[in-house]
Structure formats: C-alpha cells, structure tokens
C-alpha cells in the first residue's frame, strides 16, 4: 500500500507520494487516510476535463503517470481569446484555485515539455526553444518508466540536459526506443497528438449566459437560435452536416451532450431545431441542469457539400428529402433503432435471413443477398419461436395433425412441407439449437441431425395458417421438439 496523494500539511511533515504506507504511518502516527476509489475519481476527473472544453475543444486526460491523469489542453489558435497565453494560464489556473484546488500548470510548444514543466518546475509559459528550459529538469520529467529512470541515475545521467549530447544508438541499445521517443516528443522533433475526449467539430457556434439558465425550454430556444447562426455559417461555405451535437456546460463543471443525426446532409435550421426538440423529449429523466448552464455550444460534424435550394413560395417539394426528414424526426424522438427496414442477408436460417437496418444509416440494396426462395415465407414472424405440443405426426417426415399453442388446441386440415433447413455447414451446429435451455450446454455437441429444422405450412379448420417446424430428425434425437415460428396471411 502506497500513498498516492497528500495535502500541503502532509507534505510539510516530510511525506511524499509513492511512499510506503507503513513508513508514512510510522513518521506521522495520527495520519488521516482514505482508500482511493479509482473509477469514481476517474469519472469525476473526466467530467471536469470535459468542462474545460469551453476553453478549447481539444481536451484530453493523460493517464501515463498520475493515478487519475493530468489535464492536457491543446490551445493552438485559442489563446488570443483569453488575451494571450500568459493571461490564459492565469485565468484557467485562477478559476480552478477559486474552487479550492491546488493547480500547477504550464504552457509549452509540445505535450512532453508542458508536462515536464508543470510537474517539475514553476508555472510558466515556455518559448519556442524548449531544450534550454528542459535541460535543468530531472530525467523523470520525460515520462519514463521507473526502470529507465533508475538505470539513468545509476549511470549518473540525472538531468535532461545531459542526454542531449549522448550517442543515440547507445541510449537506444541500453534503454530501448521509448526513451528516445519521449525525448524527441518533448523537444518537438516527433509530433505527439492528443486525442480529444469529446467529438471534434469543424463548425460550431456558442453562446454564453451572464446568468446561468436551467429550464429545458430555454435551452431548446437557445438551440434554435444557435441553429439559425450555424445554418448561415454552413450556407456561406455551401456545406451541410449529418450529425449535430449540443454541448451544455454547467456551472459546476459538468457537460451534457445531446446528439442528433440526419439521414442526409442538411443545414435547415428549422429541421435541426425540431430534431433537438424531439431528442429532448426522450431525455426527460436524465436532464439535470445542476446549478445552471452558463454556455451552450452547437457543433456540426460529418460535413459534406449541399447544393443551394430555393425556399419560400416557389419551393419544389422533394419527396425523398421530406421522407428522410420524417425518418430523422422519428429517430430523434423514438430512439436510434426505432425506425428500421429489413435488409435481406445471405443466409438460409429464417431468423437470420433478414437484418433490421436503421433508416438514418441505410446502405444501398445488395441484389446478391436475396436468395431465390421456392418455399413460402410467412407474413409475420415470432421473434422467438414458441414451443408447441404436437401429437403423433407421421414418421419420419409427416406434417403435424394438430397442435396446442398458448393453451389452445388447433386441428390442422391441410399442410404442406417439409422444407428442410439444416445448419449452415460453416457454422457450428450449436447455434441452431433451440429449446428449454436458455444457453446451450457447453459439454454437449449437437449433431446435425438434432439441429435440422423441418418447416411446415399448416392450415387449421378455421383457415388460420401457421408456419411451424420440428427440430431434430427422427432417430437423431430422442424426442423431436415442435415450434411455432410465424403466421401467414
């Protein structure tokens, strides 16, 4: 057990992070200890990091060394909004310190240098030449592994500056390529990118509030206004987008994200506003504004060019576009898998022969996938075939004379079949097994005879037509089981 984090008073007593718990308790007997709840802390830190995206969109958490990570922001091109890099560092550190946190930050041209300066030096803004500034820092500032740091110290290389003049091949042979990689990343010879936590958007508009707002209606109204601004931005570039994200930045450093999708690229502000209104109706339980929302950003991604369209009195109605908008609205309100269509799949097994594809993400039809069917297929299919009991069918392939389904007896006067559907030989036979067991038992392998299905179309004396099958061939399994799978018209 080791110490992971301590406050100022503990460090004043001489304790340090990484120290053995027993030693620490020996040094300071009345030490107050808490066990770290890592998932909770990572999640809270993650929320916190997302909140920082109101400073810049590219925010990430580096988890190389600290238990819960270090906050890394890519501020290329954003610093002027805060009045310069130094002022930006002041502002960001200042607002965190106002919350009672201890902050050490630094701004540098590379990720590695910024990390090194923040951990091992005083808060500062580094100029373009990082090698000067990094030279006096200890080698552990390069985010190396413990074994590498120990090895370097053993050789007397205690500062980063001493590594500059060493022979690279020797260093690589002794410590591996990762050492050189870290050094080059810190000095800027190798580019290191950060992967942002929230989806990155090329186009966005935002609005800050002097007084935090909380009501969902106000949020939607703002979203509508923002959609109008975003739509004119997209129009000047002649593009439209298929995914829109609404980021709500709360006062207590959390971010809520709402995303909607459109089947075709659009920049119609009314349509976007309506999609968000529908999406918000699905939100009801999860919406929590906390102490208020002080900034809302609307971003668009999946951009593609869209031709200009005449609107107004002489608008020509495009049927396909209005159908797509209808599906967008329904998907937004009912959920992502609510609006689907069947797509045939190249498979013999009936429940696998179609898959349901969401309309907003549909792919063109594949004429190869439709297998020619000689046998009839039912109009309605039961998602899970239901077991029925059948008395005395003719052996071996006879149709059922009657059945008991959902506690009602049916007497069949006509039947056709059987259509034999055996397991696809390239899959294991286990997959086709149905029955009372929820999971097929693993210590049993099913033979092909046990898993083949014989389908019958049966009509009862009332004219109702059913599609049922017998699972298992006579002789192959002890007791073949019958199931009802679908209904005909």
């Amino acid at each position: 057990m080791k110490l992971v984090a301590l406050d100022q008073r503990a460090s004043a007593e001489g304790l340090f992070a990484g120290q053995n718990l027993a030693d620490a308790k020996a040094l300071v007997p009345n030490l107050e200890l808490r066990e770290i709840d890592l998932p909770f802390i990572e999640q809270v830190f993650g929320d916190f990091a997302d909140w920082h995206s109101n400073a810049t969109p590219i925010v990430t958490v580096l988890t190389d060394h600290a238990a819960w990570g270090d906050l890394m922001l890519d501020i290329t091109g954003v610093s002027h909004l805060f009045g310069g890099e130094a002022a930006m560092l002041e502002t960001l550190s200042g607002r965190l310190e106002a919350l009672g946190l201890t902050v050490r930050g630094a701004i540098a041209p590379t990720v590695g240098a910024a990390w090194a300066l923040a951990h091992f030096s005083s808060p500062q803004v580094a100029g373009a030449d990082v090698s000067e500034i990094l030279a006096p820092l200890p080698v552990s500032a390069l985010r190396l592994e413990e074994s590498q740091v120990a090895g370097l110290e053993h050789l007397g290389l205690k500062q980063v500056g001493q590594l500059y003049s060493r022979d690279r091949r020797a260093l690589k042979a002794r410590f591996g390529t990762s050492l050189l990689l870290r050094l080059d990343q810190a000095l800027g010879y190798v580019e290191e990118r950060v992967r942002p936590r929230l989806p990155l958007a090329e186009h966005y508009v935002e609005r800050r509030f002097a007084e935090p707002i909380g009501l969902l209606d106000d949020v939607l109204m703002t979203a509508h206004d923002l959609a109008l601004r975003l739509s004119s931005d997209l129009e000047t570039e002649g593009v439209g987008a298929q995914a829109f994200h609404l980021f709500l930045y709360r006062v207590d450093h959390k971010v809520m994200t709402l995303s909607v999708n459109a089947a075709r690229a659009t920049r119609d502000a009314q349509h976007i506003g309506r999609l968000f209104a529908h999406r918000a109706e699905r939100l009801v339980g999860e919406y929590d504004a906390g102490f208020g929302i002080d900034m809302i950003r609307l971003a668009a991604s999946s951009i593609s060019p869209v031709a200009a369209v005449q609107v107004g009195a002489f608008e020509t109605v495009d049927g396909a576009a209005s159908l797509d908008r209808l599906y967008d609205r329904m998907t937004s309100r009912l959920g992502p898998l609510a609006v689907v269509r069947s797509k045939p799949v190249n498979s013999h097994i009936p429940e696998r022969a179609v898959k349901l594809e969401p309309m907003v993400a549909r792919t063109p039809d594949d004429p190869q996938a439709l297998l020619p069917l000689a046998a009839p297929r039912p109009l309605k299919l039961l998602p899970q075939p239901e077991p029925i009991s059948v008395s005395l069918a003719e052996v071996p392939d006879g149709p059922p004379p009657n059945m008991v389904w959902r506690r009602v007896t049916y007497r069949f006067v006509r039947a056709s079949g059987p259509e034999r559907i055996a397991v696809e030989w390239w899959r294991s036979a286990d997959r086709l097994q149905l029955g009372n067991e929820a999971q097929p038992s693993l210590d049993r392998t099913y033979t092909e005879g046990e898993t083949a299905r014989d389908y019958f179309v049966a009509e009862d004396d009332g004219g109702r037509r059913f599609w049922l099958f017998r699972q298992g061939l006579f002789g192959a399994s002890e007791q073949p089981k019958w199931f009802l799978h679908g209904f005909f018209a």
């Binding site: 109605v317 209808l326 069947s342 109009l379 149709p399 037509r465 679908g486 018209a489």
Partner: protein, 270 residues
C-alpha cells in the same frame, strides 16, 4: 377581404405543390390501377378488426394488400408501426414474406415505439407527410388513448395529405370512431392448389365492410357487406357461393393423376 386572399393564395400554393412535386421514383414500372374489387380511395382512416390475436396474419395481410394498392411514384413509402412490447405476442412482419404482397423486403419501414403516446405521435407525423402512401399500425391491446378525438384528428390529417391509415385492432366489441371505413377480417379455409389437395392454397378471408362504402354504392345490408375473397397475384378475387373462383381460369388437374401425399415433396402454397 383579406381572408379571401389568404384562402386563394393557399389554394394556389397547394396546386403548385401538387404540380411540382417531383416523383421520387424515376422511371418505375406502373403500379396497379386504382379501379378494382375492394380497392379503397385514398386519404381515409381504416379500422381493420380481427377477432383474436391469432388471426393477426389475415388482418395484416388485408391491410398490406390495401396499402400496396395505394403506392404510386409520388408516394413510395409504406410504414408499419408497432409497440416494442407487443413484438413477441403478435409477431413482427417478416421481410421475406412481403414478396407475396408484391413488396420488396426493404420497401416497408418498421417503426417501433415504446409507449402508445409515442405511437400515436408517430402515426400523426407519418400521415401528415405527403410521400407516404399508407401507414399500417398494429395495435394489439385496447388503448384508452385511441379514442374518438384521436381518430378524428387522424382522419383530418389523412384527408389533407392524401395518405391512408390502417389501424389493425383485435376485439369483438366496437367503439365509436371517426374512421371512414371499418373492416372485419376473418380467415377462411383456402382452396387447395390444383396439384395438391392437401396443401393450403392462396390466402382466403371473409371480409366484412362494416362502415363506409366503396365506389359510391350504398350498402346493401345494414350490418355491412360480406365478401369471401382470395388474395392472389391478380389482387383480390371474389369467391362465389359455390366456392369456385371467378376470374382467371385455372388449369384443371390431369385426370387420373394421384394427389401428392403430404410430405412427399415441396408444394407451392401460394
């Protein structure tokens, strides 16, 4: 004065929209003509009743057959709506089984809602959209939300946009509803195909038109007209009292040919 102008402008706008609506399907083959036996006019709300859930296949089949006849180049979409929770009880439409109704597997869009409120909202949205030919809603359990007001709203929207709504319900009792047509469908024993006397034949239903009139004719009997129809590739075919199908002649089976024993070979069931 001002009101007249607005009305005139509105009418003109609708006419221009109707003229200028681009057909969605370019160069598609023709769809069956509107005239025909049991083919209903557009823009109405139909209630299709079946007595019990197990007869749902017949009711859905009838609704799809009617919906198929509403398709045209400017109206290519058929939507099917169902509550997610009813899927195992009533069954879900099977894409590969739509072929016997002249529909491609991908031509019907399925919409699954979680609550009846969402379902009704979805029906209203779909009906208001002009390129939708027909909306088929499978309402398995009795729903309080589907009352007279709701059906009246639906029928107004359907009349405005020209899309049709088919509400498939399962009950023996009837409630007041603003639907223009009310059908009752019950399956009936089918005529066996010519070469196999023991196999089921094309779907046969007993269709009762309880409310509404087709083709301008007044209803003959107060409790509604009753038809026995077959659904074949030619559409609805009326079956006479002697159980012989009028219409296309079918080749008679060869004399002396033994009827195929059940289970001996695959037979065409439809």
């Amino acid at each position: 004065m001002l009101g007249n102008r607005h009305l005139a402008l509105d009418t003109l706008r609708q006419q221009i929209t109707a003229l200028e609506t681009r057909p969605v399907l370019q160069g598609e083959e023709s769809v069956p003509a509107r005239a025909g036996f049991l083919v209903a006019p557009r823009g109405a709300v139909h209630e299709v009743f079946a007595d019990e859930l197990r007869e749902g296949g017949a009711a859905l089949g009838f609704a799809l057959a009617q919906a198929r006849s509403m398709l045209e180049p400017r109206r290519p979409a058929i939507l099917y709506l169902q509550l997610q929770g009813d899927a195992q009880e009533a069954g879900v439409p099977y894409g590969l089984g739509l072929g016997s109704f002249g529909l491609d597997p991908g031509q019907v869009v399925f919409i699954r809602a979680q609550t009846i409120v969402e379902l009704l909202w979805a029906i209203e949205e779909a009906v208001a959209c002009r390129p939708v030919a027909a909306v088929v809603a499978d309402i398995v359990h009795l729903q309080k939300a589907l009352d007279f007001t709701a059906s009246r709203r639906l029928s107004l929207r359907a009349a405005a946009s020209g899309s049709s709504v088919f509400l498939v319900r399962y009950a023996r009792e009837r409630e007041a509803s603003a639907a223009k047509f009310r059908w009752k469908i019950a399956p009936a024993q089918s005529r066996p195909p010519p070469f196999d006397a023991t196999a089921p034949g094309p779907p046969r239903w007993r269709v009762t038109l309880e409310k509404g009139s087709l083709g301008g004719r007044r209803r003959a009997a107060p409790e509604g007209e009753d038809f026995l129809v077959d659904w074949t590739e030619h559409g609805f075919e009326r079956v006479g009292a002697d159980d012989r199908t009028r219409g296309a002649q079918r080749p008679a089976p060869l004399s002396g040919a033994p009827s195929a024993a059940l289970g001996d070979r695959l037979s065409e069931a439809s």
